[in-house]
Amino acid sequence: MRIRTWAFFTGQAFSSMRRNSWMTVASIGTVAVTMIVLGIFLLLGGNINNIAGNIESQVEVSIYLQDEITSGQVDDLAQKFAAMEQVALVKYVSKEEALQELREMYGESGDFLAGLELDNPLRNGFRLRTHRPEQVLEIVPTLRSFDGVAEVQYGQGFVEQLFAVTNVMRVVALGLMLGLASAATFIIANTIRITVFARRREISIMKYVGATDWFIRWPFVIEGMTLGLVGSLIAAGLVAWAYSAAVVNLAVTIPFFPLVKPWPFLLGVSGWLLLIGTTIGVLGSTLSLRRFLRV
C-alpha cells in the first residue's frame, strides 16, 4: 500500500481515539490498571524466587574429621573436595574456630561454654557449599566415603523440608504470574472486543463502500497497539517508580530484608509489561474484528 494510505491509517487511528475519547480513556485505564496488577505480581514473583534462592544458598555441608587425622591428609581431602564439580566453596574450620562461633552465637547466655577451651570437645572439619543448593543431596554419599571423614551433616530432614518449601514458593509464584498474565490478556482483549463491538456499524459501512478487510483492519491495529502501549507505559512507569521507592524505604526500615535490586530487575519487568500490553492490544483488536468483517 502507498505511503499516503499508511498516513491515512495512522490519522484514522488517532482521530478515532480522539472522537471516542471516552472509550479510549476507559480502555487505556483498563490496560494500565491490569498491567499494574500484573507488574506487582511479577515483582512479588521475582522477590519470592530471590528469597527462596537466598534461603537455599545458606545450605551448607559440615564435614567433621576423625581426631587422629594428619595435616597432610587434611590438605589431601581439601583438594579432593575442591576437585568435585558440584562444589563451589571449601572452607577449613578448626575446632577452635568452631568453639569461637558457638560463643558468638550464644553471646551473654553462653556462660556454659566457659572452660571448654582447655578440653575442646568439638572436632576439626570443613564446610562446603555447592553451586546449586540441590546438589548438596547428591554429594553427601561421596563425602561420607572419603577416608578420614568421621561425620557429614547438612541438616538432614530440615534441608529436604526447606527445599519443599522453596519449591512450593516458586511454583506458587510462577503460577500466580502466569495466571495473572492470562487474566490480564483476557481482560484487555475483552475490553478491546467490546469497543470494537460498539463500532460494528462503522465497520460494516466501510465494507459496503468497498474497503478491503486490511484497509479496515489497519487503523484498528494501530489503535489497539497505541492503547496497549500507552496503557502499559503508564503501568511500567508507576510500577518502576513505586518499586524503587519501596526498595529505598525498606532499606531503612528493615535493612536485612533481601529485596531484589531495582536494576536490571525493573528493566525485565517493564519489558514484559510493554510486550504483553502491546501484543494484546494488537491481537485483541485484530481478532475481534473478524466477526464484524463478514458483511
Partner: protein
C-alpha cells in the same frame, strides 16, 4: 453489464423476497425499479452488491459471476458499483467531506485528485457549504444527498440508488435527477429504486416493476403505474 438469471431469494426466516427474477441491463441504461413496499426492490440491490447471497439463480456483473465470489473479491465488486443505501449508512462521527472522500481513499486515489473531486461532487448535490458538518448535524434530505455524493464520487460503472429522493422536496429532487442524468450521459449505468410517481412518469426511461418478488412489468419507455 448486469444480468440476473432465475434469481430467487428466501431470507432465513422464510420470507420469499424475490422469485425467479430474470433481468438484463445494458451498459449506459437508466432503469427505474418500482413496486409496492416490501416488493423486493432493496433485496435486489443487496444481491447485486453481494450483501446477501441469492438462494437460487445467477447474478453477473461486468461478466463476473457475483453469487460465489470469494470474500476477498467482494470489495473490488463494490468499488465498481456506487450505492445510495435506503438508510444512508453514513459514518456518524465523520464529517460530510470525510464520508465522501473515504470512498476515494479506499481505492487509494491520489491526494490531489481527492482534494479536487470531493468539493466538485458536494457542489453537484448542493452541499458545498456543509462539507465540515457531521451527518448528525444535517437534515434528512441533506444526509441523503451526502450518501449520493459518496456513491458517485468515484464515477462508478453502475449506480444503484435506493430511493435517492425519498427525503427530498420536489424541487431538490429534480435537481438530483439532473445530476443523475448527467452521470448517465457520461456512461454510468443507473438502477434507481423509487416511489416518486411524477419523476418516473416525466422521465420516460425503462421501468421494471416488482410485486411480491416477481417482475410484473418491464417497459423501455414506461411510467410508474400500469397505463391501461
Amino acid at each position: 453489464m448486469l444480468e440476473l438469471y432465475a434469481v430467487s431469494k428466501i431470507y432465513g426466516n422464510g420470507v420469499v423476497a424475490l422469485r425467479d427474477v430474470d433481468l438484463k441491463v445494458n451498459k449506459g441504461e437508466f432503469v427505474f425499479i418500482v413496486g409496492p413496499s416490501g416488493a423486493g426492490k432493496t433485496t435486489l440491490t443487496r444481491l447485486i452488491l453481494a450483501e446477501e447471497k441469492p438462494t437460487k439463480g445467477q447474478i453477473i456483473v461486468n461478466n463476473k459471476v457475483v453469487n460465489n465470489l470469494r470474500p476477498s473479491e467482494i470489495p473490488y465488486l463494490r468499488r465498481q458499483i456506487g450505492t445510495v443505501f435506503q438508510d444512508f449508512r453514513l459514518m456518524h462521527n465523520w464529517t460530510v467531506e470525510e464520508n465522501v472522500s473515504f470512498a476515494m481513499k479506499v481505492i487509494e486515489a491520489p491526494r490531489r485528485a481527492i482534494r479536487k473531486r470531493v468539493p466538485e461532487v458536494l457542489e453537484m448535490v448542493g452541499l458545498a457549504n456543509k462539507a465540515k458538518h457531521l451527518p448528525t448535524q444535517l437534515s434528512g434530505g441533506e444526509q441523503q444527498r451526502v450518501a449520493l455524493a459518496r456513491a458517485i464520487v468515484n464515477q462508478p460503472y453502475i449506480l444503484l440508488a435506493d430511493e435517492p429522493t425519498g427525503n427530498l422536496d420536489p424541487e431538490t429532487a429534480w435537481g438530483i435527477m439532473r445530476v443523475l442524468q448527467d452521470i448517465n450521459a457520461q456512461g454510468t449505468t443507473i438502477l434507481m429504486v423509487t416511489h416518486a410517481k411524477n419523476i418516473v412518469d416525466e422521465m420516460r426511461k425503462r421501468v421494471v416493476a416488482l410485486e411480491g418478488g416477481r417482475i410484473v412489468r418491464d417497459e423501455t419507455r414506461g411510467a410508474y403505474g400500469n397505463e391501461n
